[in-house]
């Protein structure tokens, strides 16, 4: 691959239902996900062998996140002050366009041509690779999984394991085709190929872009966790480091990261700690021999302040991006990450994406759940995901003239017909006279009920009223007893 290669990602086609349907029919994809999710669930369970500790730690994690959010504006200002004092430049962006503009202006100020990126979901929100590619700047992913999906013009299918939808054979073919290396399914060799290519890129890059796991207000520290060392490379080798993160990632005190870090790595990968915990508090100081000359932090809103405005939906922002909810989700495991068509898949994606892109763009997200509750049960910061899904379902059918504006795109599934039917149904079930009348006709006219009732009859037999109602039979039963 030449140094000027620009890798765009392909746009996601079709709607959610079609993508989900196609994914369900893809045996290879389903096998890859089933295997990976089973393994991740087992590892997490082993890492939290003491249920007592786990539950107390989750409660503490929840309290720390809730405390940070309850002081969020003050903590953001404190973070900015401390980072600025440490020599880090802080930028604020309300939209992804603004954030991309900031990143571009920093790159242009340094006449940068090559960007190397550590793993960052916020940069995925920004579609930074695409944005920069359009402007003649190469933006290469350096996390092995992210590199693989970028090479195949795809997007991550999991927030922690971006290439989990692929098996070694698929990666082998990809490397053979795109990098011209000999075909090998040996994972060690594949990783060494990636290492070789990317080392050169780290060496050449003008700019390093990373995400942030926790931003500590108290000390002005950006904390990043990773196993590969690409995060350290990205934030240390190039002369300029730009970190991008959501405004919710701030925590109050340094000690707060102790339990959060433990919850994050154990929930995500079932390990006590990642290989590297990188705490960055500033650029290279005078007389230091390495490290970036400049460090920038871009704080992105992108719909987070909308979720923040409602005290129930605010809990969405507790998220520490561990991915445990998707690992345990029966829907995600069956359809994979790409079917969701957005940056964040799985349960967390279903509750955060509507704030970022508007509910109207992802109308099926809140209902693509069996509400089994597994996501809420494993969430390390106790986000009540099932309750939030139900809440979003309500927002999604709100009448357009509702005075209560909670979120962009609300009421996208509102239908006058459906509302009328539900109102009629409610009336029917709350009026004894109407209910008896309905029962009388439903049992006698049962032959006339339709055999095809929309999506229901795709997978189920059509409902048919019984010849006699339960009321009727109970009445008769009681009458007989009275005779004895």
């Amino acid at each position: 691959m030449s140094t000027s290669t620009i890798i765009p990602t392909v746009a996601v086609e079709e709607d959610f239902r079609t993508r989900a349907h196609n994914a369900l029919g893809d045996a290879q994809l389903r096998g890859n996900f089933r295997k990976a999710m089973d393994s991740l669930m087992t590892k997490r369970a082993a890492a939290f062998s003491d249920a007592h500790e786990r539950e107390h730690l989750r409660a503490l994690g929840n309290a720390i996140r809730a405390r940070a959010l309850s002081k969020l504006p003050d903590l953001l200002e404190q973070l900015e002050q401390n980072l600025t004092r440490n020599g880090v430049t802080v930028h604020w962006a309300e939209t992804v366009d603004e954030a991309n503009g900031i990143v571009l202006s920093i790159i242009r100020a340094h006449e940068g041509r090559q960007v190397i990126k550590g793993k960052s979901m916020v940069s995925e929100e920004m579609e930074m690779n695409h944005f920069l590619a359009d402007r003649g700047i190469e933006c290469l992913e350096s996390d092995m999984g992210e590199y693989i999906v970028q090479l195949d013009h795809e997007k991550p299918s999991h927030i922690i394991m971006p290439a989990i939808h692929k098996n070694a054979g698929q990666v082998a073919s990809l490397f053979h085709d795109k990098l011209g290396v000999e075909y090998t399914k040996d994972v060690d060799q594949l990783i060494q190929i990636g290492r070789r290519v990317l080392r050169q890129k780290f060496f050449e890059a003008d700019i390093g872009v990373s995400g942030v796991n926790f931003a500590v207000a108290e000390t002005g520290t950006l904390l990043l966790v990773e196993n590969e060392g690409n995060g350290r490379m990205t934030t240390t080798v190039p002369p300029v480091h730009i970190a991008v993160t959501g405004i919710e990632k701030v925590v109050e005190n340094l000690r707060d990261v102790v339990p959060l870090l433990s919850l994050l790595t154990r929930s995500a990968l079932g390990i006590p700690i990642t290989t590297y915990v990188n705490m960055i508090s500033g650029p290279r100081k005078e007389h230091e021999l390495d490290g970036p000359q400049e460090v920038h932090l871009v704080l992105l809103d992108n719909g987070r302040s909308q979720a923040f405005a409602d005290s129930e939906l605010r809990q969405t922002l507790n998220c520490i991006r561990c991915g445990a909810c998707m690992n345990h989700c029966p829907v995600y495991t069956r359809i994979g990450g790409h079917a969701y068509g957005e940056v964040y898949p799985g349960p967390i994606g279903k509750i955060i994406t509507p704030h970022m892109v508007g509910l109207a763009k992802v109308p099926d997200h809140p209902s693509a759940s069996s509400l089994c509750g597994a996501c809420g049960e494993v969430c390390p910061v106790k986000i009540p995901i099932p309750a939030l899904l139900r809440r979003l379902r309500e927002e999604n059918v709100k009448a357009p003239d509702s005075p209560h504006q909670v979120m962009r795109g609300q009421g996208s599934k509102y239908s006058r017909k459906e509302r009328f039917i539900w109102n009629a149904w409610a009336k029917l079930n709350s009026s004894p006279t109407l209910y008896r009348l309905f029962g009388f006709f439903a049992t006698r006219l049962r032959a006339l009920t339709p055999s095809n009732v929309g999506p229901w009859t795709q997978n189920h037999s059509a409902p048919k009223p019984a010849a006699r109602s339960l009321h009727d039979m109970a009445r008769e039963h009681l009458a007989k007893q009275g005779d004895r």
Partner: protein
């Protein structure tokens, strides 16, 4: 209004009439299960570090340069990057002077820009000190300085680390408290818990992703 003002104004409006959640940080929860008797600490650290392919050796303040030279020769490493002005860097220089024929020493004594290609392409191993370690998670604490810069522990494929046994702490919370990190953090502080690794392909664990392929810890038992 700027983006900053808009964001802060929205957040403040949403918090109108609310009170901040109280700080009920439970110190016991993150310390009690992770407290060890002094004689357990080395074993606990080695268990966790070796589980992720770290090589550990018990040695002494007197013996470690000899062991280091031996390990370099066993691995047929042609050179070693050192931080020449640190006490351990000086010990190595001294030991090497007394023992001719050992692998070449390289000093990280100038800005990376002046020798970046050599660092990336021709520096097979390095040795750094540590600020201590954490038994609970099997982590080394690195606090790179001007004398011992950040890339020393990252770019060379083999990283040797010196650890004084007395500086092994129980848990991360204790480390933050004892070193008073909240009062001031260095430019870059690191926890390193093994050689670089990835499981991004089919969850198969592979070592040597982007950082060192080998991490070798020399534990000085008598220090």
């Amino acid at each position: 209004m700027s983006a900053k003002q808009n964001i802060l104004a929205k957040l403040r409006k949403s918090l109108t009439g609310t009170t901040p959640v109280a700080d009920n940080f439970d110190v016991d929860l993150v310390t009690q299960p992770y407290t060890y008797a002094p004689e357990q600490r080395i074993a606990q650290l080695r268990k966790l570090m070796e589980a992720v392919h770290t090589e550990t050796h018990l040695t002494s303040g007197q013996e470690w340069p000899t062991l280091l030279a031996q390990l370099l020769q066993d691995r047929q490493l042609p050179s070693l990057l050192i931080a020449p002005t640190t006490p351990h860097g000086q010990r190595i220089t001294q030991h090497w002077a007394n023992n001719p024929g050992l692998p070449m020493l390289k000093a990280y004594d100038r800005p990376v820009e002046e020798w970046k290609a050599e660092l990336f392409n021709d520096t097979p191993a390095s040795i750094t000190g540590t600020l201590g370690a954490i038994a609970a998670t099997g982590s080394l604490i690195l606090w790179p300085t001007r004398e011992e810069p950040r890339l020393m522990s990252l770019v060379p494929p083999v990283h040797f680390a010196l650890l004084k046994a007395s500086e092994i702490r129980d848990n991360f919370y204790q480390v933050q408290q004892e070193f008073e990190w909240a009062q001031g953090m260095p430019t870059n502080a690191l926890l390193v818990s093994g050689p670089s690794k990835t499981a991004d392909i089919e969850q198969v664990l592979a070592y040597g992703a982007h950082g060192p392929k080998d991490l070798v810890v020399l534990i000085l038992e008598d220090q």
